[in-house]
């Protein structure tokens, strides 16, 4: 019996920045679509989808005996009873998950982490690098629901990565590729200067450390506030082991419970 089956809970409104639930549930894969280097999985996960907050993540058990620690994945979408994940195969575990078959059940724990704060956001500039774009669709959906205008800039290594743009439903989306095959040639940070973001915009960014550092510098120069979602290797995912800390101006903080979203200006990129 899954924990979810043991303790059914009523649908509730999403609390600000999301609640964090460590309970696990088995969720069936109902769709799997390849977008170049990425795979979008759609799971039947009513309990998680009902309460997930943009920027939160789930800890996924990789099927098979070769994997012990769960792998963290951002909530890509949460629509009705469906939870979307966007997966890049970067190692054996994510490879196995990117190969998940329709009908297969995956064991998820979550939603976990403190998501993006949405209170008081008037215009949003979303910045994603590579697989870092994953949490930005659910963020777009939530902002749209609040009537907040959204602009997004995604940077990819090459055209194969950039194909994931087709998985997104964001009206004003600009793309840059390092190899110049799609969109503007160069880094996503090159795009930023070209977009004339209003001074009231809030920046939401997720991607490689170097990109976050660049966005941080640019936002500081432009006088924009914002948030960054960070990655760290995790063990527990629930704040227990202190395995996932990153450096911030407030000291070492846990990505899984005090993040993954931090104020952009408090992040310290080593």
């Amino acid at each position: 019996m899954t924990a979810a089956a043991r303790s059914p809970h009523p649908r509730r409104a999403r609390p600000e920045r999301g609640e964090q639930w460590a309970e696990t549930s088995r969720c069936r894969v109902v769709a799997a679509r390849r977008f170049g280097a990425f795979t979008a999985l759609e799971l039947l996960a009513p309990e998680i989808a009902a309460v997930a907050w943009p920027g939160q993540f789930v800890m996924v058990k990789v099927p098979g005996s070769g994997f012990l620690l769960r792998r963290p994945f951002s909530v890509f979408t949460a629509r009705g009873d469906r939870l979307g994940l966007l997966i890049e195969a970067r190692g054996p575990g994510s490879e196995r998950l990117a190969d998940a078959q329709v009908g297969e059940a995956l064991d998820l724990a979550g939603p976990l982490g403190a998501g993006f704060p949405l209170e008081g956001v008037r215009t949003a500039l979303l910045v994603g690098g590579g697989i870092g774009c994953a949490p930005l669709q659910m963020l777009t959906d939530a902002l749209a629901g609040r009537g907040v205008p959204v602009m997004a800039a995604f940077g990819f290594r090459d055209g194969r990565q950039a194909r994931v743009a087709a998985a997104f439903d964001i009206e004003r989306l600009w793309v840059a590729t390092e190899d110049g095959s799609v969109g503007r040639p160069g880094m996503v940070s090159d795009l930023l200067a070209a977009l004339d973001a209003p001074p009231s915009a809030t920046v939401f960014c997720c991607g490689p450390a170097a990109m976050i550092a660049a966005v941080q510098r640019w936002a500081a120069g432009a006088g924009l506030r914002g948030y960054a979602s960070l990655e760290a290797h995790m063990a527990c995912g629930v704040g227990a082991c202190h395995g996932c800390v990153v450096a911030t101006k407030r000291g070492a903080l846990r990505v899984c419970s005090e993040g993954p979203v931090f104020a952009l200006d408090e992040v310290v990129i080593p």
Partner: protein, 321 residues
Amino acid sequence: MNPAAVDLRVRLGRLELEHPLVDASGTFDLVETARRSRGDYVAAFPYAAYVPKTVTLDAREGGPPPRVTETPCGMINAIGLENPGVAAFLEGLSTIVGLRRPVIVSVGGNATQEYADVVRRVETALGEGARRFPDVAGYELNVSCPNVPGGLAIGVDPQLTAEVTRAARAATGRLLLVKLTPNVTDVRPVARAAVEAGADGLSLVNTFRAMVLDRSSLRPFLGNSTGGLSGPAIKPIALRMVAEVAEALPGVPLVGMGGIMTGVDALEFIACGATAVAVGMANFTGLEAPRRILDGLRAECAARGFARVTDARGVALARGA
């Protein structure tokens, strides 16, 4: 035999436990879990006793990230004893005052005297208002903190271990366990020294010093370069050490650990002489792990005709424990 009929109660020194499973220090944070989980997680706490993360006198920052990653059938960690210090620890403890299970406080320190200082601070707090806290039943001295020149731990040295134990013993009348490091040529002299210095029982094993490289840079992956290996990979070595200590010190209660993921694993440690067993890495596979292991242990006892889990104790040893 009906699994429900198996008597799982054990006696760890003066402590009665409802069943043999406790959490391994540093792998389960009840204060955090209670904060983030639905339902009354404090009341539903699955372990027979709560062993929090090792606490030191003052707050510690811990090691630089990254601090954890998976290894073949195991994991490595270099948390570096991050903890908020004993004062903040006691604050946190008071938020789970409703816990219906005993707490065994894991104590760390650099200087041998620091251990006793932490114990005294806890005793003072309890003396001033025991009702603000759950039932603190005892202490586990984590002697794996590096201290000896060359980065070795207090726990590799029988004399230092005895010193730490004696000082802590003088500071408390409660249950006193010493948690042994496996990074030694022979674990028995250290075990004996701890018991002779006043320990009521021993926990073993802590993690194995190990190293993982970043596959692309070939530089040490962990921020701290080396870390501690745990999980199923180390189980065969941990079982050997538990059996060795059980044979060398019959009658001394042992808390066995190292790679326990299933009920059979738990039973194997008991067969090697452990009275209780601790679950570490398995906590990271999901919150349901302790229940799954406990149900498994009960079923495995039943399948083998052990009416009491204590009937299995020491059956793997040359002579019973």
